[in-house]
């Protein structure tokens, strides 16, 4: 990894069109300003991690996976008394509200 020291007000260039400027440093936080073409997608790293994780999670949902999940969770899935209305599927839409 390329390591570079910069102070507030200084900037660096990535390629021809992307400029990243250090706007402010206070304590553990750094405020950055980024100039880049609109076509360049800029996201926080943790947002990208969550995007990827959500896509993988959505793909993983299928009847077989749900069954193995329930089998893998005997402790969590242990039968607990269900409120009467949870027996009726139509009544159980509002989790937490019921």
């Amino acid at each position: 990894m390329l390591v570079m020291r910069r102070r507030a007000g200084e900037s660096l260039l990535v390629g021809e069109n992307i400029e990243i400027q250090v706007l402010q440093v206070s304590g553990a936080r750094v405020k950055l300003g980024i100039n880049a073409p609109a076509s360049v997608v800029i996201v926080r790293r943790e947002v990208q991690i969550t995007q990827n994780e959500n896509r993988t999670a959505a793909r993983s949902v299928n009847p077989g996976a749900i069954e193995s999940l329930l089998n893998a969770l005997p402790a969590l899935a242990a039968p607990t008394p269900e409120p009467e209305k949870c027996q009726d599927f139509d009544e159980s839409h509002n989790l937490g509200l019921s």
Partner: protein, 155 residues
């Protein structure tokens, strides 16, 4: 009564009061603004978060305390505002908000994980939802769902 097609169940009837609004969608699914939460006794404690618009899109979730009994939710001002919650105090899980984590069932022999880094938080009173990324929390986005330690039989 309008009905929607679901991925894991049959077509179901919904009312306005069963729809939850996610003004920002979810990361990776920014266009998905409305979800319905479903649960069934035979799949307890799993919850199904079904897109109201895309029948093929459904997430499996678990209430966060089922997975991490001491889970700490720390919402910043932006998240509190987005959820239309008071800025003065953190919401109580189960009382003010539903807090659940998305399960990645993996498959292919991979163990299932949950995303503790980014729980789905829902304002129960106004039915507004947000997936909150808890950057400073140190929680993992791939927390193993089943404890890694083998159980030792009593003897």
């Amino acid at each position: 009564m309008p009905s929607i097609r679901t991925k894991c169940f049959q077509e179901i009837d919904i009312t306005d009061s069963s729809l939850f609004h996610f003004p920002c969608g979810l990361p990776g699914f920014e266009q998905e603004r409305y979800f319905v939460f479903l649960n069934r006794p035979d799949s307890h404690p799993l919850m199904f978060m079904q897109s109201a618009h895309t029948p093929e899109l459904c997430f499996v979730l678990l209430p966060v305390f089922t997975v991490a009994p001491r889970y700490r939710l720390a919402l910043d001002e932006e998240a509190l505002t987005g959820l239309q919650l008071p800025l003065t105090a953190q919401p109580k899980i189960g009382q003010d908000v539903l807090c659940a984590v998305i399960v990645c069932a993996q498959g292919n022999g991979e163990p299932p994980t949950v995303n503790l880094l980014a729980p789905v938080v829902v304002n129960l009173h106004d039915r507004i939802g947000l997936q909150v990324i808890q950057t400073q929390s140190g929680y993992s986005h791939r927390h193993p769902l089943v404890a890694q330690e083998e159980l030792v039989p009593c003897s």
